[in-house]
């Protein structure tokens, strides 16, 4: 199979439409299972009590906020290297969901911090760099809206995404590099997790739910972006005749 085939919006459009429902379905199932583990199975934390249940959404959304940014920067690199329209469209489709995940991470972090640390917010390295991430997402979205020529907007957004990606390792390692109010990583690839197995399971299930949600939503969004940007293209008109685009 020729993978380059799918680098064209015309061939990717129907593929995205076929894949998105599966990812959405997987996200829904994992979401329900994850919430069930988070509230019905996972025991009360011996130190924090019940409020720790916030981390079941805080950690997955914080992971996604960083990961989505890196994927967006990756598509930016592809767009600048190969000048492919679809790469830019995929990058464009990720920004709103990335901003949303960042917002959820900040919001839930604040609500966890108040009863646990005694404050909603502190200007420590982890929180400040995560807030910068939110502004970077807003910046990418605003930059695209500010430039009328889509191809110029593609290049500008790609550049901003790539430059901004330096912030992601800063967020990730901030708790090691600086003395932060935010605690260190509870889960890492190099050490045994510092949490009970059921809590970890719930968090990972919800992390996968967040992954599949993001994939489903960005596939649906990229379809809208393709239609918006390719309007009047011959392939869309022929797809209409085949009843693949319906209002």
């Amino acid at each position: 199979m020729n993978l380059y085939l799918f680098s064209s919006p015309a061939t990717f459009y129907p593929l995205a439409g076929r894949l998105a429902p599966w990812f959405a379905g997987a996200a829904s199932i994992l979401g329900v299972v994850g919430l069930w583990i988070a509230f019905a199975i996972a025991p009360t934390d011996f130190q924090q009590g019940e409020v720790y249940r916030i981390i079941f959404i805080h950690v997955p959304s914080a992971w996604m906020s960083m990961f989505i940014y890196l994927v967006m920067a990756f598509w930016g690199i592809m767009a600048l290297s190969f000048n492919t329209r679809l790469s830019s469209m995929l990058a464009q489709s990720l920004a709103p969901t990335g901003a949303l995940m960042t917002f959820i991470a900040l919001w839930t972090g604040a609500l966890w911090g108040r009863p646990t640390w005694g404050t909603y917010w502190a200007w420590d390295a982890r929180m400040t760099s995560e807030l910068i991430l939110l502004f970077l997402y807003f910046g990418v979205i605003a930059l695209r809206n500010a430039i009328d020529d889509p191809r110029r907007a593609d290049r500008a957004c790609a550049l901003l995404s790539i430059v901004g990606a330096i912030n992601v390792p800063i967020i990730y390692f901030s708790v090691k590099w600086w003395n932060t109010l935010h605690q260190g990583a509870s889960v890492s690839l190099t050490a045994a997790p510092k949490m009970a197995a059921t809590m970890l399971t719930g968090m990972l299930v919800l992390a996968f739910a967040a992954w599949f949600y993001t994939i489903a939503v960005s596939l649906w969004r990229v379809q809208a972006i393709i239609l918006e940007r390719e309007r009047g293209a011959a392939w869309i008109l022929s797809m209409r005749k085949a009843k693949m685009v319906t209002a």
Partner: protein
């Protein structure tokens, strides 16, 4: 049930975390649906004049 909602006295923090998350996800899904409908409507009319 009341114990569950109270979350050991931290119900406000737990439920406003989960509640706002649910609301923003719903907003994203609804606005995405609106955007897709608009894009499809536009795609199904653009070029009719030709």
């Amino acid at each position: 049930m009341n114990d569950f909602l109270a979350m050991g006295g931290h119900g406000f923090f737990v439920w406003s975390s989960y509640g706002v998350t649910a609301v923003v996800l719903a907003i994203e899904l609804f606005s995405l649906r609106a955007r897709r409908r608009a894009a499809m409507k536009q795609a199904s009319t653009t070029g009719d004049a030709r």
